[in-house]
């Protein structure tokens, strides 16, 4: 997709390439009160990355503790807090908000040819709500921590003497942050597409964010209400979930998963979007099965509302419920498989650049294949009953959450980094970091599949010695993974100070985000773009822009 108007000179910013969104104003307040989607995106990037590093630190503590069957570092109650912190930080502060908040904010308006999102003030509010949630979550740690697991299952969450109300409040506030981002993106996609940018000319990252936004708006309120009810139950003993008061703990599970299954797709769809972009750009080939991928995002969004019961196959649900939930769960497998096949088919006969973003993309494709296929194993009812709440499940969702979503996030970061900052990181270091992360990740989680299928339950501070060798392998893997991530962060940070100038169009993308000056100016485009070509049409690419450094 390119434009036919000369204002979009593929060769950089016509008016003094030096003022851009990073330097047009300065000072703390210019950032804290900014309405610019790119600055808000950057603030999200910093915030969610810090949350990710904190969550990762908790994960390392968990892994080191499990080196010995008796546990190495903590007593059981402390261990329970640490794994809960890991889960809660990763899910609520990182995986859900990271891609839409940072890369989504940064790129969505660019891809649409818009000056900003439709509701810039609401966008800033979303960020501040995220920040409030993060502060509350940290406060909850200071107020005694919480040991419920990120799932807050009743009635334990009602009885434990910990800061459950505070973390519940954090989740509630974070929920609103997510809802507002979703609303904003929906309106933006509907209202601010550039002339000529029809629905089927939209880049797939936009489609993915659109489908995600629908889920965020429709599903998150249920989570909000559920955590509020838990807080009420704790404060006033109402009797909703507490069996001693006539409540029903299984009802909590229904409410919780009614949100948290769609939440899986709130997390993973943006990752799919990133991968769709990157596969195309770095293979310099139109996406294979564009429409099918776009529709499968929507299909996943719809079906994902109807499968929550697959988290509750052992709760004693009726055979009819088992039948329906398992059937529908297998149905989600189809659009997901279609995506994977389409990505692979895009790479097939492409012009494949093995740069850092592409290496992360390839790592994603391999890891996501494992994550998705093991999901099929878990979808089978009788097998699920054996695997439920074991490390098999832990490994499966880490293949999806960490291995797929976080890796897609890293891929996207490497991809849009030169766009965001106008500098390139050292690609050799970036590739090495990618390799270490890939090895470390698999070393961490492959052994968990094995111990899980042999019956190792999750959330165990101590374990029977049968499982020790797998735990140790997993711990070694986690340390390698940690080293890889540290190297990646180092590589990014160094590039900000010593990075070479990026190219005008670093990777040769043809979506509108690559046709603005780099880094983009305050309102993105010097003149409103008009789209006349189909999406991912690389015949329009001016190859010299990939070799010309920015001014």
């Amino acid at each position: 997709m390119t434009t036919n108007i000369p204002a979009i000179d593929q060769h950089a910013a016509p008016t003094g390439g030096s003022t851009n969104y990073l330097n047009n104003t300065s000072g703390f307040w210019s950032w804290a009160s900014t309405l610019d989607h790119k600055r808000i995106g950057l603030m999200y990037l910093v915030g969610t990355t810090l949350a990710f590093l904190a969550g990762g630190l908790f994960a390392l503590l968990v892994r080191v503790h499990l080196w010995e069957p008796d546990g190495m570092l903590f007593d059981n109650p402390t261990y329970n807090q640490v794994f809960t912190l890991h889960g809660a930080f990763m899910v609520f502060l990182f995986v859900i908000p990271a891609i839409p908040g940072s890369l989504g904010n940064m790129v969505l308006p660019l891809m649409l040819g818009a000056k900003d999102v439709a509701l810039p003030r609401l966008n800033l509010l979303s960020f501040y709500l995220w920040l409030t949630g993060a502060v509350l979550a940290t406060l909850a740690i200071i107020l005694g921590g919480f040991d419920t697991g990120w799932t807050f299952y009743a009635p334990y969450s009602l009885y434990t003497q910990k800061a459950v109300v505070t973390i519940g409040l954090a989740v509630f506030v974070l929920g609103f942050s997510s809802i507002f981002t979703g609303l904003n993106f929906i309106v933006t996609v509907h209202k601010l597409r550039a002339p000529g940018l029809t629905w089927f000319r939209m880049p797939l990252f936009v489609w993915a964010l659109y489908a995600t936004s629908i889920l965020q708006v429709l599903a998150t309120p249920v989570l909000g209400i559920t955590v509020l009810l838990v807080a009420f139950e704790r404060l006033y003993q109402v009797g909703i979930f507490d069996p001693r008061l006539g409540g029903d703990p299984v009802l909590f599970e229904h409410f919780f998963w009614f949100y948290s299954h769609p939440a899986v797709y709130i997390m993973v769809l943006p990752a799919f979007g990133i991968i769709s972009e990157l596969v195309s750009v770095h293979s310099r080939k139109p996406l294979f099965g564009y429409k099918l991928i776009a529709f499968s995002s929507l299909a996943i969004a719809v079906i994902s509302f109807l499968v929550w019961g697959h988290h509750m196959f052992t709760s004693g649900q009726s055979t009819f419920a088992m039948f329906a939930f398992s059937f529908l769960t297998f149905f989600v497998a189809i659009p997901t498989a279609i995506k994977e096949f389409s990505w692979v088919a895009t790479i097939w006969k492409g012009s494949i650049a093995l740069n850092a973003p592409m290496l992360y993309t390839l790592a994603f494709l391999i890891i996501f294949a494992i994550g998705g296929l093991t999901g099929v194993i878990l979808g089978s009812l009788s097998v699920n009953i054996h695997m439920h709440d074991t490390y098999f499940v832990v490994a499966h969702f880490h293949y999806v959450m960490m291995g797929s979503i976080a890796l897609a996030f890293f891929a996207g970061l490497h991809h849009w980094w030169p766009k965001m900052f106008g500098v390139m990181y050292d690609e050799t270091i970036a590739k090495i970091a990618c390799g270490i992360i890939f090895v470390g990740f698999n070393a961490t989680f492959l052994p968990q599949f094995i111990m899980g299928s042999r019956g190792m339950p999750r959330r165990y501070a101590t374990y029977v010695p049968d499982f020790q060798v797998f735990h140790q392998a997993s711990t070694v893997g986690a340390v390698i993974l940690g080293v890889g991530i540290a190297l990646m962060v180092y590589c990014f940070v160094v590039s900000l100070f010593q990075g070479k100038k990026a190219m005008v169009n670093q990777w040769g993308g043809v979506t509108l985000d690559w046709l603005t000056p780099t880094p983009p100016p305050l309102e993105n485009f010097h003149e409103a773009p008009v789209v006349t070509t189909e999406v991912y049409d690389y015949s329009t690419l001016d190859l010299s822009t990939t070799r010309t450094p920015i001014a």
């Binding site: 310099r284 052992t314 088992m322 297998f330 149905f331 006969k349 009788s382 709440d389 029977v464």
Partner: protein, 347 residues
């Protein structure tokens, strides 16, 4: 030995062997739910097939179509191929429907409790962080449970506090234990051995120590009631066994320190007499409406256990104790309780 502290190991036997099946993937199967394993390995094979396919195409493409010169265009600009897309939609659909049906069949079998299992019903009581098992004959064991090989068994699961889950990997069964609800599982153990029983639903501090062992034994061995730790070979052991019978069956109503509960305290039921002899105290009882004075002895205790209403203690004219027949506590055990009572005697 075992790193898990077992709450009340009645028979601290050998630790379970590492329990791995022949393929080294799943835990060893020791029940009749082979469908789980069949479906698992089928799905596993399908997964490996698709994984290798994807990996193969990826690696091949990366090697073959790698961008060698910067301006190299794609070798093809194909954007879709309808037959191919139909194929990769329909084939996975068929495969997952097979998995679905097979999985449902297996799960249905687990839910459908057969009559033989229902006739052999145990109770498993879960509380933070231990398991208590009640056998069909009413006897009780903690931390370990014995079942008969080849005999289908059903467990009723109850929780007295939070969520737990009853998980015996080798039997392929798992069921959440939910306070306020009666849950149930059944299985038919097919191989003798000792198997892990884990709590699989997070339940607080010592969740990971909520561990028990399932002993599958032959019916000959089962008849010996190995969970029963009763031993009256010496007076000391008899008193100890008596104490444990007391704490399980009588302590709710009888204290041994004088505290008034539903029934009279056993303090002072026997006292030290001349020298080191132990003699029964005097009791005023109501028998058939008439009040009379008796001396406590073995026969009186036995009678109180079997037919409590025969002689009611005068302080408790309304009774309130239900009788324990010999199927619950046989005469030898009552004797052991008496031995325990006597060991409490003081001046």
């Amino acid at each position: 030995m075992f790193v898990l502290s077992i709450q009340d190991p009645q028979n601290a036997g050998p630790a379970p062997q590492p329990q791995v099946d022949a393929y080294g993937q799943l835990s060893k199967l020791a029940s009749t739910f082979h469908d789980v394993d069949g479906l698992f390995y089928f799905t596993y094979a399908v997964c490996i097939f698709f994984f290798v396919l994807i990996l193969g195409v990826l690696l091949f493409s990366v090697v073959k179509y790698r961008r060698k010169t910067e301006d190299q265009p794609a070798a093809s600009n194909v954007t879709h191929n309808t037959p191919l897309e139909v194929v990769w939609t329909v084939i996975p659909l068929i495969i997952v429907m097979v998995m679905f049906a097979w999985g449902y069949k297996g799960a249905d079998q687990m839910v459908d409790v057969p009559k033989e299992a229902a006739r052999n019903a145990y109770k498993a009581m879960a509380k933070q962080w231990s398991w208590t098992f009640t056998y069909p004959d009413g006897s009780v064991s903690y931390g370990d449970v014995w079942v008969e090989k080849d005999k289908p068994v059903q467990f009723y699961l109850q929780s007295s506090d939070v969520l737990h889950a009853f998980y015996v990997p080798s039997m392929r069964v798992k069921r959440d234990v939910i306070p306020g609800r009666m849950q149930t599982v059944w299985f038919q153990p097919t191989e003798e051995g000792i198997y892990h029983l884990f709590c699989a639903e997070y339940c607080g501090n010592d969740h990971s120590k909520m561990y028990a062992r399932v002993h599958v034994v032959s019916s000959a061995e089962f008849k010996k009631r190995p969970w029963d730790d009763f031993d009256d070979s010496t007076p000391e052991l008899a008193a100890k066994s008596g104490e444990s019978l007391y704490s399980r069956n009588c302590a709710v109503c009888h204290s041994v320190d004088g505290t008034p509960l539903v029934g009279p305290s056993w303090k002072g039921l026997f006292v030290k007499g001349e020298g080191d002899t132990i003699v029964g105290a005097k009791r005023t009882v109501i028998e058939g409406g008439a009040t009379k004075e008796i001396t406590v002895d073995d026969a009186y205790v036995l009678e109180s256990v079997r037919t409590p209403a025969q002689k009611l203690v005068a302080t408790h004219p309304n009774g309130g104790m239900s009788s324990f027949g010999p199927e619950l506590i046989d005469d030898r055990r009552v004797k052991a309780i008496v031995t325990y009572m006597k060991s409490l005697a003081s001046k």
